[in-house]
Subunit: 211 residues, 2 copies
DNA sequence: CTCTCGGTTTGATATATGTCAAAATTCGTG
DNA sequence: CACGAATTTTGACATATATCAAACCGAGAG
């Protein structure tokens, strides 16, 4: 990771709502998120859009573009954010010199593939409340990994964006949040979340088991 | 691609139903499909399984395992098949020597990420018949790319497997096929498909547009 | 501070897909 | 060739989620 830091000291700022890249943009760099957060989404000709992920500090985005030399999705800042460019040809050259960097890069790409498989599982075989519980637990875990509270955090995205990510309508997301709150699983006030019963939330994901 | 061929002349055979690898297996190699076809699926603790893809000749599988050194999904032969092992450490060593191989490997991984995004779009925002139409068009295109007919082919997977892949129940898949047939879009007899009206099938994907 | 507007919540109703069940067909095996 | 098992098709009905609509709330602008 230190190697990546060496590659670029230049941070660029993106205000909330700004595009880091758009679908069709020429591929130059991967981007390391230095502060803030982004969403990535793919567009369908007919205008529908599907959020494919929410990225936070330390995560690398832009991997989709390697395949065609053009970005196939777009990345939008969810809050004021900073990113470091990682020019890809330099990254490739460096990783030819340093097997550890090479392996690291491969792991990053593979991890993205595994993450995507998890989302397919979620979209293909979970019900609305399971999906939302899985989403909350995923956020919780990622906040914790960054030294923040695992139980209390702010959502950076709208109900609409959560819904798009989870394959649900925003009303369904809102209702599921309300239901979780009635059941004492969470306390939610618009965008601030507190997880009250992590155990039962975990049980919700994987309904099929007795809990 | 020739480089990959050099890497391994050894083909291994897998009869229909055999596992190429299972979830949890130690990662050693990527696999190039030399003949036949496979499905990959992820398992949920509670027993649910989600098919994440169908792979055919020339495609590389096992990329998920790089991230953790263990396979996170499993691959099952859909018919008698042959694969070439591509030992990953040798692949990495070679690609340090040969920038073109390095780039090729990166593109393969990135292409998988793009493919997964497409499936998320499908699962997250398409209706049953749109999903199935997209699936048929995808198969058609891949058969055509391999020199087979784009309009007439055999399905190698069951309704159940198609349903799992598309986030639908097998009955829904069957009904959608029947409906396509009534509408004169396809002729389907169990596992043999003939596409009769490619244009209207394309229109079905992306319902929102007037067609 | 108040207004406005986007976002959120909640309710009533519609609909796509799931569920359960039975019949029909195909396929593998003896 | 014939049997049984597995897969597929089809039907009747149930239900999760979408849709439409209205009320509510909160954050930013003036």
């Amino acid at each position: 990771m230190r190697l990546l830091d060496d590659l670029s000291h230049v941070k660029r700022c993106f205000p909330r709502g700004a595009y880091l890249y758009r679908s069709g943009d020429r591929f130059q760099s991967l981007y390391a998120i230095h502060s803030g957060s982004f969403k990535t989404q793919v567009l369908h000709e007919d205008g529908r859009e599907q959020v494919t992920g929410f990225q936070m500090i330390g995560e690398i985005i832009g991997l989709d573009a390697i395949s065609t030399d053009h970005h196939t999705c777009e990345a939008v800042a969810l809050e004021d954010s900073e990113v470091c460019d990682l020019p890809f040809t330099r990254l490739e050259a460096l990783s030819r010199e340093m097997p550890s960097l090479q392996r690291h890069l491969h792991k990053i790409m593979s991890r993205e593939i595994v993450r995507d498989q998890g989302i397919m599982l979620l979209l293909g075989s979970m019900r609305a409340e399971e999906r939302l519980a899985a989403f909350l637990l995923n956020l919780s875990q990622r906040f914790a990994a960054r030294g923040h509270s695992a139980t209390s955090f702010q959502l950076r995205m709208s109900r609409q964006e959560i819904g798009s990510y989870l394959g649900l309508k925003l009303e369904t997301v809102s209702r599921a949040f309300s239901h979780f709150q009635e059941d004492g699983l969470i306390c939610i006030k618009v965008r601030s979340v507190e997880i009250l019963d992590m155990g039962r939330l975990r049980c919700l994901v994987g309904q099929h088991l007795a809990c």
